[in-house]
Amino acid sequence: MEFKDYYRIVGVPRDATADDIKRAYRALARKHHPDVSKDPQAEARFKELGEAYAVLKDPVKRAAYDRLGADWKEGQEFRPPPDWNTGFEAPGGGFSPGEMADFSDFFEALFGGGFTGRGSRASFHAQGEDRHAKVLIDLEDAYHGATRTITLQVPEVDGQGRASLRERRLNVTFPRGIHAGRVLRLAGQGSPGLGQGQAGDLYLEVEFRRHPRYRVEERDVYLDLPVAPWEAALGASVKVPTPSGMVELKVPAGSTASSKLRLRGRGIPGSTPGDLYVVLQIVLPPADDDAARAFYRDMAGKFGAFNPRAKLGG
């Protein structure tokens, strides 16, 4: 297993006081908290930080860790010396197997000894924990409904009290009308109960995968629609792709760039369906040959009085 440099993770020197450690931990915890940070690495970083703090805030664990010596480097191949924790009163313990599953093998090897045989008391019954996960689906799934196979990493504790992650695949039906932020509850799909206790539930929070074409705000969907200058100026009937199929859209004469056209009820379906907003983008034909350049020059002459910067006072 790899050595973990808990002092480096918390960002304090090895002789830091308990107060220094707490301050440094709190500042980093606020920064990397998975509910606060948008960084995809935030969760891993936060867990690592929690593990480091769990050791450094506890005088007994910290002393035991310090005894490994200061010469180890982060990531270095590590085996605990056979007698490393002698002379300490129970440096392990204080963590549930569920919490231990979040911690590294390194932590478990040093401090995970206290759990052997736990959970084997036959007379103990308890309902399993509820579990939570986020799941990414496509916008189209919200229009049509979909059944998707999702993969979850589930912490699991074996008969010897060792915690590990197990990969679990689940077929989930996402009903039509589902949108980001909605939560699905799968009864009995959480952690198994202890003894004769019932299993917990699984809560799945839905998010949309980023779509190359559409943007979503609650139930409303936005699409940028490129149009030619004459289509915007004179009006036109154009074909527009929507998640529910192609529709014919009338661009009114005199439309300007960024005009928003609303297709009522073409957003995410539901008892009050969202709307689809088509945002016009005026695209100029390139002036890349003599004929096109001549045409633009001709236009400049014909629109001689037109001042695009009139509002700037130019």
């Binding site: 709190r26 929690g50 689940l170 989930v172 699905l184 008892s271």
Partner: protein, 106 residues
């Protein structure tokens, strides 16, 4: 260490919002004590339907807020009012991010 497991079948349902979760269900899902949820209601962070706690019914959106508030409080050592404030600011940031994205950040 990752092990594979057989494919399991499960079908989720989306009950129409507002969805009816009891106080006990919210507590269990958030792994918090009853008093914590009661305090969130008193603080105005959660607004369940129903008069007294036994009749309270929460939405899944409430459940999400309660979980974030409980994690912020537990992990960052802030009190309930602080967690409530952070939660509201986070939601505002999220709404603004969505708005920016809708307006086109390309």
């Amino acid at each position: 260490m990752v092990r594979k497991n057989d494919l399991l079948q499960a079908t989720g349902t989306v009950p129409e919002e507002p969805t009816e979760l009891t106080l006990a269900e919210v507590c269990r899902a958030c792994a918090v004590r009853t008093e914590f949820i009661v305090e969130l209601v008193e603080e105005g962070v959660l607004a369940p339907v129903g008069q007294e706690p036994e009749r309270w019914r929460f939405t899944y959106a409430h459940l999400r807020r309660a979980r974030v508030a409980s994690r912020l409080q537990r992990d960052l050592g802030i009190n309930l009012a602080g967690a409530a404030l952070a939660l509201e600011l986070l939601e505002e940031i999220e709404a603004l991010r969505t708005r920016i994205q809708v307006l086109g950040d390309n």
